[in-house]
């Protein structure tokens, strides 16, 4: 139908309600969670096969109907970047799903929860596989729709409903903006295929309508990528959603917005690079400052982490704005690291909240005395995200700055460095509160998190250390993905070569 990993995700998603129904009848409440985790393992296995196919056979793998007629026909165009991103979605999804089995055990509607979770991961995978702007948009809607319901999943409380509704309104406005930009592009070129669009617009620069379309693309994808000032949905949605969903939203979903933005800018608007490069760099710096300053003011653990995500989106966007092999490699490496670090932090936050029933930092003081493993993992994640060597965050953040300096974007690099220094203040505040301070009554009453929740946390903490000590393979993978992103001629040739 599409490709094996995507087919597996979609078909297993559709089968989840049936599995859940049978499991509930038999009284096995954990089965949907185990089934969803197994589905992701199957998808990861198929994705590995696809990765080998991309490496061995072709730089860009095209999946479509035969005879292939790309300018009009919808197709999937899979390159190293697509595989790179899809691996990240499926692996982070696996951690979140495995963690959810225990975390969500007291909630109702678990069958729907796992169906939506698989749907969201399938949507994100479809986005990175899409070779056509409209196909991307259909999968974009799949991702958005499932994430609205997941944010508002705990519907008994007012907060998730309010956050979900706000997210729905803002994201729908963003989607409408993307749709408008697509209609303009189709009106000008008669196609929505990425390679054909890139081919048609190669030598165009001074077209007023293209600038309007460019602005619409940046705003549309910018909402999902949480670019300041379109970020206001994010802190509410991330703090109100169940913690595994916050981890997914923060760890990978916002990156999908950044991916789509970078892909469209580099492929379709390549000829207008000077125009969007500076705009994106300015937005990146605004996003860093907005995220970091707001994070400094937070007393709610999940809100603080959410604002930290906004700041990190700024770093990632700055790497994309540099638009060199080095800048893109650094950004993509930071995409991996941020996904791991932020998933770890949100999962730890979820464990604290589950055991104490509070998100307020004032009440979580000294919780390391009663939850030592979770607190130690949280401290590792915090130190890593604060870019302290030798943990993973250090390498990618330094690589972004180095790439900025080499591209002669000195002022932006200094501002990025200043933001990284600023963020250390609230990350160390977190460590002080969780580890060094005297326990409050709430902290003293907390019990250790269940082992099944600790396993994903411990693996992610280990990955922070492992990638920090041995970053080579991950930098190589990021470099290959960045190369695929920049090889626009190869991409066009692979799709339109025969025409």
């Amino acid at each position: 139908m599409f490709t094996l990993p995507l087919d597996a995700l979609l078909i297993l998603m559709v089968a989840t309600p049936a599995v859940g129904w049978v499991a509930y009848k038999k009284g096995y409440r954990k089965v949907p969670g185990i089934y969803a985790s197994a589905s992701l393992l199957v998808a990861a296995y198929f994705l590995y096969g696809l990765y080998k196919e991309v490496v061995e056979n072709s730089i860009v793998l095209i999946v479509g109907q035969l005879p292939f007629n790309p300018p009009l026909e919808a197709c999937l165009e899979i390159d190293m970047l697509s595989v790179f991103m899809a691996f990240l979605y499926i692996i982070i999804g696996l951690f979140a799903t495995a963690y959810s089995i225990k975390f969500m055990e007291r909630d109702s509607g678990l069958t729907e929860y796992y169906t939506l979770m698989l749907g969201m991961i399938a949507g994100m995978t479809g986005i990175v596989f899409a070779g056509d702007f409209f196909t991307l948009f259909v999968f974009w809607e799949l991702m958005c729709l499932t994430s609205y319901a997941l944010v508002a999943f705990r519907k008994r409380k007012w907060e998730p409903i309010e956050a979900g509704f706000k997210y729905l309104i803002m994201s729908a406005a963003g989607s409408a903006t993307i749709l408008l930009s697509m209609s303009f592009l189709y009106g000008m070129t008669g196609t929505l295929n990425f390679a054909a669009l890139a081919n048609s617009l190669t030598n165009t620069t001074s077209e007023g309508w293209l600038y309007i379309t460019l602005a619409l693309v940046i705003v549309g994808f910018g909402v999902k990528a949480a670019i300041v000032p379109f970020h206001t949905w994010l802190p509410d949605a991330h703090s109100a959603a169940p913690s595994p969903i916050s981890a997914m939203l923060s760890g990978v979903m916002v990156q999908t917005g950044a991916y789509a933005l970078a892909r469209v800018l580099l492929l379709v608007f390549g000829s207008m690079q000077p125009a969007w490069q500076m705009t994106l760099a300015v937005f990146a710096v605004l996003t860093m400052f907005g995220g970091n300053i707001m994070a400094l003011l937070q007393n709610d653990l999940k809100r603080l982490l959410a604002f930290s995500t906004v700041a990190h989106m700024g770093y990632i966007l700055f790497g994309f704005a540099i638009a060199s092999q080095e800048g893109l490699t650094a950004s993509l490496f930071h995409v991996i690291n941020h996904a791991i670090m932020k998933t770890l932090l949100f999962l730890c936050a979820g464990a604290f909240i589950r055991q104490t029933k509070t998100r307020y930092l004032g009440k979580l003081r000294g919780i390391s005395k009663t939850m030592p493993i979770t607190s130690a993992s949280f401290a590792i994640g915090t130190i890593a995200i604060a870019a302290f060597p030798p943990l993973n965050g250090f390498w990618s953040e330094m690589m972004i700055i180095a790439a900025g300096v080499r591209a002669e974007m000195i002022i932006f690099s200094i501002l990025t460095l200043a933001n990284m220094a600023l963020s250390v203040v609230y990350y160390f505040r977190l460590i002080r509160i969780i580890i060094l301070e005297k326990p409050t009554k709430v902290s003293e009453r907390a019990t250790k998190a269940p082992v099944s929740m600790l396993i994903p946390i411990a693996i992610l903490a280990f990955l922070c250390i492992f990638i920090g000590v041995y970053p080579g393979p991950y930098i190589d993978a990021s470099s290959k993905a960045a190369e695929a992103m920049l090889n626009i001629e190869v991409y066009i040739d692979a799709v339109l070569g025969g025409l």
């Binding site: 139908m1 599409f2 979609l10 998603m13 559709v14 309600p17 479509g64 109907q65 007629n69 300018p71 009009l72 026909e73 919808a74 197709c75 999937l76 109702s108 509607g109 729907e112 929860y113 169906t115 939506l116 749907g119 399938a122 949507g123 479809g126 056509d132 409209f134 196909t135 259909v138 999968f139 809607e141 799949l142 729709l145 499932t146 609205y148 319901a149 508002a152 999943f153 519907k155 008994r156 303009f184 009106g187 000008m188 070129t189 008669g190 196609t191 054909a196 081919n199 048609s200 617009l201 165009t204 077209e207 007023g208 309508w209 309007i212």
Partner: protein, 91 residues
Amino acid sequence: MEIDRIRMAGLTAVILAALIFSMLILEYEFPVFKYAEPPTELVENETAIIGQEVSEFLWNFRVIDLIAQAFVLFAAAACCTALLRTEERKK
């Protein structure tokens, strides 16, 4: 009456954006298919066959989108079921 400054700023920004957008539309003529690579296959606008032509086009050229859209509809139904579910009573 108290004026909400944030709301006023937002309203001003929206009006300004609408004005700029309108000015741009008046200033620049839309380049219809200016960058299109020939040949572009167009559907003939004859009411009798248009429905058949469109569905034929969709099945021949956009089948990936059609199938993906079916999954979007399934996900929409799952979202409704999730948000309209009856909560289980705690024992």
